[in-house]
């Protein structure tokens, strides 16, 4: 199909996802962004959130904490150290990470940028649990 492009989600130790997709929604640093075919070449990085992949009608969701994105020549590449498939993520783990995050948020020492990241992390996790 002409509407598709290649999407790769890579962790340091493995390929998490690699296939032709029709659209991908990514939580960019400055806001959510949906990428379709023939998007302008782009480099940006991610905040904690959910990557939604539309693979010809099949929706797949991944939880990520950070990442770097490159889009070029209809190749979308996401490099991230954490990517968990939503259906495989269990409730207890979510709650545990959420508790950790909220604890960190209450710490006064953190920088604004960290706070920004952690707030998003907490809100994403709350949504999930």
């Amino acid at each position: 199909m002409a509407e598709n492009f290649k999407f790769e989600l890579v962790k340091p130790d493995q390929f998490v996802f690699s296939s032709e997709v029709s659209s991908v929604k990514i939580p960019c640093y400055e806001g959510e962004m949906t990428i379709l075919r023939d998007h302008i070449s782009l480099i940006t990085f991610l905040r904690p959130g959910i990557v939604e992949i539309d693979k010809q009608g099949n929706l797949e969701k991944y939880y990520i904490e950070e990442g770097t994105v490159e889009f070029n020549n209809n190749n979308l590449l996401v490099l991230t150290s954490t990517a968990e498939k939503l259906v495989e993520l269990d409730k207890n783990k979510i709650n545990q990470i959420l508790a950790d995050t909220e604890k960190k948020l209450n710490d006064d020492q953190i920088s604004d940028k960290e706070k920004y990241f952690l707030t998003y992390k907490a809100s994403t996790l709350k949504q999930l649990s």
């Binding site: 890579v10 962790k11 340091p12 130790d13 493995q14 390929f15 960019c28 640093y29 400055e30 302008i40 070449s41 782009l42 480099i43 940006t44 990085f45 770097t68 490159e70 070029n72 020549n73 590449l77 490099l79 150290s81």
Partner: protein
Amino acid sequence: MPSLDDLKKRIKSVKSTQKITKAMKMVAAAKLKKAQENAEKGRPFSDKMQNIILNLTLAMKDDTSAPKLLTGTGNDKTYLCVLLTADRGLCGGFNTNICKLAKKHFRQILNDGKNLKIISVGSKGYDQIKKEFSKYVIEKRDFKNIKNITFDDAQNIGKIILELFENNQFDKCFLFFNNFKNVITQVPKAQQIIPAQEIDNQSKDQNKTNYDFEPDEDEILEDLLPKNISTQIFKAFLENAASEQGSRMTAMDNATRNAGDLVEKLTINYNRSRQAAITKELIEIISGAESL
């Protein structure tokens, strides 16, 4: 000439050593397969990360605002060397090769009148350099209790390095590890990670794409470069793990073969001495009978 009993004992001990080395070879072969797979799986991530950084640096118009991690501090005084070795021995020249290369660099740095700081990861490397360079070692780590090294471990090392860099503790940082080429050859390698290596000419020729940056280049680089450090370290870990097993496998294979040769030689010796003893006894009996 050793007695029959001694020979018998020696043959037995060599044989049991051979059994051990053979078992170690098998274990290393099994582990090698996994380590090799991991190393190969880890390559795309670091390669692509490098690629993005390359594209970013090409797009940077203004060098002055570039982060220090990329361009360096401007000084050339203090060198931080990260020595990555194994925690276990009996793997041929694996640890020695890295240390040899590292020591050469260390001496060079000291001869040039520069300051040297060493972070040693893996206990065997520290054992080898402690005699000469122990006063330069500022941090040492090992992974004796950890079975599989994960990205988090690499990140922790990366954090130490970054913290030192932010406190202006060093100007340049090198990684020493073994690059896994194939099972038989592993090449010790020194890689500069801070400042990020200059772009080689070949990639410069590539067509430049106009990227849309969001937020701007500097901010992305600031986010990406620390990650890149961890990625490079993780890659070095994976390469090292594969190299270690490969090196151990070949070393143990050689040892098993040597033990086999030795057993053969000792058996011939043993048989000869046994025959000599029998002949001697026969002669004694015959000459005794003749004299009657």
